[in-house]
C-alpha cells in the first residue's frame, strides 16, 4: 500500500498511522480531499491548543512568562 497520497496521510497521522486500513480502493481525488481534511483538522487542533496555552499564561506576570511557558509547554 504505497502511493504518494497514502504516504502523505501517514505523515500527517504520525505514529497512529500504523493502524491504517487498506486504502487501495479509494480513488486519488477522494484521498487527496481526505488528506487535506486531516491536515486542516491537525492544524486547527494545534492552533486551538497554542491559543489556549498562550491564553493560560495571561495570569502569569509578563517577566516570568517565557520561563513558565518553557516549563509547561516546552
Amino acid at each position: 500500500m504505497s502511493r504518494p497520497l497514502i504516504d502523505a496521510l501517514r505523515a500527517e497521522l504520525g505514529p497512529g498511522a500504523g493502524k491504517l486500513p487498506d486504502l487501495s480502493s479509494v480513488p486519488d481525488p477522494a484521498l487527496e480531499t481526505f488528506v487535506a481534511a486531516v491536515r486542516a483538522a491537525k492544524r486547527q487542533q494545534r492552533k486551538m491548543l497554542e491559543d489556549s496555552a498562550e491564553h493560560s499564561l495571561r495570569l502569569v506576570p509578563m517577566l516570568l512568562r517565557p520561563a513558565v511557558r518553557k516549563i509547561l509547554f516546552g
Binding site: 500527517e12 497512529g16 486504502l23 479509494v26 484521498l31 486542516a40 491548543l49 495570569l59
Partner: protein, 277 residues
C-alpha cells in the same frame, strides 16, 4: 443495515475532523471496520500528539489545591486545554475541578474530551453534574458526543441521564452508539412504557427516524427486539406499527420483523402479520 452503520461512521469521522460529510463519503469502498480504523488513527493524531507537553501541565496541576486548579482551569486554561489535561489527571482530581467550575464550562470541556483517557474520571462524576451536562448536550443536539459517552458512563449514570433525554434524542443517540452490547444494555434499561414512547417517535415520518429505529432493532438481541416491536404493534396509534414496517421495508430489513411473528403475544403478532403480509 450496513448502509446505516456506514452513514453513522461517515458522520462520526466528519465530526472528528470538522469537515463536510461529503469528504468522508468520497472514501468509496471503505467498509465500517476500515472507517473505524481510520477514525482511530485520526483520534490518535488529534489527541495523543501533545501528550508529553500536556503531562507537564497535568503534573503542575497535581501539586495545586482543587479550588485553585478549578479557578485556573476556568479562568486561565479555558475548555480546550482543560479538556486535554483532564484525562491525564488522577480521576478524583478531575472530578474535583469539574465540581467547582461552571456548568457552561463543563459542557464545553465535555464536547472536547477524549473519552479514551477520561473514562475513569467520567465514571466518578457526581450524578447531578452528569445529568445537568446531558441536559445541555441534548439542547445542543450533540448526539454523536452523547453516543460516545454511552460506552463510558455507568448504568446508574445512564439511567439518570435517560430521564432528561427526550424520546427523539434517544433514537438519534442510539444511531451513533458503537458497541452493540452496550446498546443492548442501555435499551434494556428502558421500561415498556418508555420503549413505547421511543418507537412512537420513530413513527413520525417528518422526523425521518426510520433509519435510527432500524439501527436500534438490528443492534439488539431478539428478546429485546421483540419488546420493541411489540411496543410498536400494540401502540394505541396504529400508524406507529405501520411506520415501523415501512421503515423496515425501506431499509431491506423486513425479515427482522417477520422473524418475530411467532414469538410475539397474539395481538401484536396478528397485527405484525397483517402489516407485513
Amino acid at each position: 443495515m450496513s448502509s446505516l452503520t456506514l452513514q453513522a461512521e461517515h458522520l462520526k469521522l466528519a465530526r472528528l475532523l470538522g469537515c463536510p460529510e461529503s469528504v468522508i463519503a468520497g472514501l468509496a469502498g471503505l467498509d465500517v471496520a476500515a472507517l473505524r480504523q481510520l477514525r482511530g488513527a485520526c483520534t490518535s493524531m488529534l489527541f495523543d500528539g501533545d501528550r508529553a507537553t500536556l503531562q507537564r501541565v497535568a503534573g503542575a496541576a497535581r501539586i495545586l489545591p482543587g479550588a485553585l486548579n478549578a479557578l485556573l482551569a476556568e479562568k486561565a486554561m479555558g475548555p480546550v486545554l482543560a479538556s486535554r489535561v483532564a484525562g491525564l489527571l488522577p480521576a478524583k482530581d478531575g472530578v474535583e475541578i469539574a465540581r467547582r467550575t461552571a456548568l457552561s464550562f463543563n459542557v464545553e470541556v465535555t464536547l472536547l474530551l477524549d473519552p479514551r483517557s477520561a473514562a475513569p474520571m467520567l465514571r466518578l462524576m457526581p450524578m447531578d453534574l452528569v445529568v445537568a451536562v446531558t441536559r445541555e448536550l441534548v439542547k445542543r443536539r450533540e448526539f454523536i458526543v452523547m453516543a460516545r459517552f454511552v460506552d463510558t458512563l455507568t448504568d446508574e449514570q445512564i439511567r439518570a441521564c435517560m430521564a432528561v433525554i427526550d424520546d427523539e434524542s434517544m433514537l438519534r443517540i442510539g444511531f451513533f452508539v458503537e458497541s452493540p452490547q452496550r446498546l443492548e444494555e442501555v435499551v434494556g434499561l428502558m421500561n415498556d412504557a418508555r420503549l413505547q414512547k421511543v418507537v412512537a417517535v420513530a413513527g413520525r415520518p417528518e422526523l425521518a427516524l426510520g433509519g435510527a429505529v432500524m439501527v436500534l432493532l438490528s443492534g439488539v438481541e431478539p428478546p429485546l427486539r421483540a419488546r420493541l416491536v411489540q411496543a410498536a404493534m400494540t401502540h394505541a396509534d396504529e400508524s406507529v406499527g405501520e411506520q415501523l414496517v415501512i421503515a423496515a421495508r425501506e431499509h431491506g430489513l423486513l425479515a427482522l420483523l417477520t422473524n418475530l411473528v411467532a414469538s410475539l403475544p397474539a395481538a401484536a403478532s396478528q397485527r405484525l402479520a397483517r402489516l407485513t403480509g
